[in-house]
């Protein structure tokens, strides 16, 4: 973990209520896709956690959706603004166990961290399938980016305005799936575990006090006892969760 001052390099709307932000600064604390950063927003006491969507030396990308007051305020942030950030938080996805043909499953704001994961798996020569779930066509983002990485992408929307009509589980093809990687709301993750056959890794969300392990605010109860989403997670193997 590192404390870094990022400068907003780019900030654009990419879908309904959804924004892409490119941050300039030290990214050396990031080692795995699925890790997150924690940003201080002016006027709010607690930081706001966001997964890194992708990163390279000196630049980290996040994609966020307007959910409450803090993310609403963020939409007005302009390029050049400085953000006090804790970086390199959490464990991230383990790609060493992916097998030949992993399936990546993302719902809504659970989609961003899968991009860097997809990139890494493709670099390792894996056959990657991606299933993305959104509410409606105007909320869809990143589908092209996964395609450009050579992944096979299936999209589901609740109202059927893009891709399959239904839940992301309806877009999941578990055939030949060597390992699944999922990120999204807890209900979605549980629904996936109810139908998914093999091994999998799930990235969880929880309200956080600190984001680096100090407050035990973000506990998840697992087969190995209480673990911290921000420290032992956010990514857990399904058998650890017992889901």
């Amino acid at each position: 973990m590192k404390q870094t001052t990022y400068v907003i390099a780019e900030h654009t709307k990419i879908a309904r209520q959804t924004y892409f932000m490119r941050l300039s600064g030290d990214t050396s604390a990031f080692t795995q896709p699925g890790q997150f950063l924690n940003i201080t927003l002016p006027g709010y006491y607690l930081r706001r956690p966001f997964s890194i969507c992708d990163w390279r030396m000196g630049e980290a990308d996040i994609i966020y959706k307007v959910l409450g007051e803090g993310t609403k305020d963020m939409t007005a942030f302009e390029a050049g603004m400085e953000l006090d950030t804790l970086t390199g938080l959490g464990n991230g996805f383990d790609t060493s166990t992916s097998g030949e043909s992993p399936l990546l499953i993302g719902g809504g704001v659970g989609v961003p961290p899968l991009l860097a994961l997809c990139k890494e798996l493709r670099a390792q020569g894996r056959q990657v399938k991606v299933a993305l779930g959104f509410g409606s066509a105007d909320e869809v983002f990143l589908a092209d980016a996964f395609q450009a990485l050579g992944a096979e992408v299936a999209v589901a929307t609740m109202d059927g305005t893009a891709g399959i009509k239904g839940l992301v589980t309806d877009a999941c093809d578990f055939k030949n799936c060597s390992q699944f990687y999922a990120c999204g709301p807890t209900a979605m993750l549980k629904a996936i575990c109810a139908v998914a056959p093999g091994p999998g890794q799930l990235s969880l969300e929880e309200r956080m006090g600190c984001g680096f392990g100090a407050c035990v605010g973000c506990t998840v109860f697992t087969t190995e006892g209480p673990l911290r989403v921000c420290k032992e997670g956010p990514v857990f193997k399904r058998e650890v969760l017992g889901w």
Binding site: R207, G213, T219
Partner: protein, 303 residues
């Protein structure tokens, strides 16, 4: 040259800064960030007899200039603290540590206090009779002078280590509770624990935290904490550890002027992991600015 040393219950601290219990775990998450020996001491997570999983989530809610927590004393239990955490602490911290003793019954406080008090690494016991986030215990002892005195007296019998009782601010008259603890044999008092608060989730229209309320901490509570330290200082002779919203070197000096011998920093660690060393670094300049050369000498100076 300014002097940051203070003497708390006979223990000399290099400086008055002590991370507060529950915001610093057992030190391990900070040990990689800076040399913890720069601290005066630290108070580890509230420890009970048996391991506790704590409350369901969400356990955290944001507030204006503060936060609510409802962690519910999640901890590995006193035996694991002794067998695993203390040896690990020894690898990165060579000073006496403060043991935060929690419980649900007097017998539990006594047993945990006895066990932790017997550990060489433990410089003092901080007995938490003020946790608002557990049912049937914790705060109930801290909101009644008689019960507070009973806990104090009982733990007093099983330890010779400095016995510091951590008081609840959720009372009409904190002075009464403070006096009762002093009379029952406390060597010092820590104050304040969190203020009982709540938030409602506008989306679900229900309380945000699973058991409705949580403990408010952070800068929002600073004026209340300062007032209580000031009031208690006038009523007791034993030293006080002041806390509640402290986030800067200036806050530390206000707390000490009100009567605190040492100052704990809690929530500030959570939003800024470097809060404590930054405060320690800032103290000399701020002391200089206000003509202070020796911290020990300003304790209670506002009276």
């Amino acid at each position: 040259m300014v002097d940051l040393k203070v003497t708390l219950c006979g223990i000399e601290l290099d400086n008055p800064i002590i991370p507060a219990s529950g915001t610093f775990g057992f030190g391990q998450d900070f040990a990689g960030l800076y040399d913890l020996n720069r601290l005066g001491s630290f108070s580890f997570k509230g420890t009970t007899l048996a391991p506790r999983e704590g409350n369901p989530t969400p356990r955290i809610a944001e507030c204006y200039a503060g936060m609510l927590n409802a962690v519910g004393l999640q901890n590995p239990g006193v035996h694991k603290v002794i067998s695993e955490e203390l040896p690990r602490i020894a690898t990165f911290f060579s000073k006496p540590v403060m043991a935060n003793v929690s419980g649900f019954a007097i017998s539990e406080y006594v047993e945990v206090g006895r066990l932790l008090g017997a550990q060489e690494q433990v410089g003092g016991l901080e007995v938490n009779i003020s946790c608002p986030n557990v049912h049937g215990g914790g705060m109930a002892f801290g909101t009644d002078a008689k019960a507070a005195a009973e806990v104090t007296g009982a733990v007093r019998k099983v330890t010779d280590k400095p016995l510091i009782i951590k008081l609840s601010p959720n009372v009409t008259d904190i002075v009464e509770v403070a006096r009762a603890c002093e009379d029952a044999g406390a060597d010092g008092l820590s104050l304040i624990n969190t203020l009982l608060g709540m938030r409602i989730d506008l989306k679900t229209k229900k309380p945000l935290l699973p058991f409705t309320t949580g403990g408010l901490s952070g800068p929002a509570v600073f004026p209340v904490a300062l007032r209580m330290v000031y009031q208690v200082y006038e009523a007791v002779k034993i030293p006080l550890i002041g806390m509640g919203g402290v986030s800067s070197a200036r806050d530390v000096i206000e707390m000490m002027l009100a009567g605190a011998t040492a100052v704990q920093v809690g929530s500030a660690n959570l939003i800024n992991p470097f809060a404590c060393p930054q405060i320690i670094d800032a103290l000399p300049e701020v002391m200089d600015q206000y003509g202070i050369t020796n911290l020990q000498e300003i304790i209670g100076g506002a009276h």
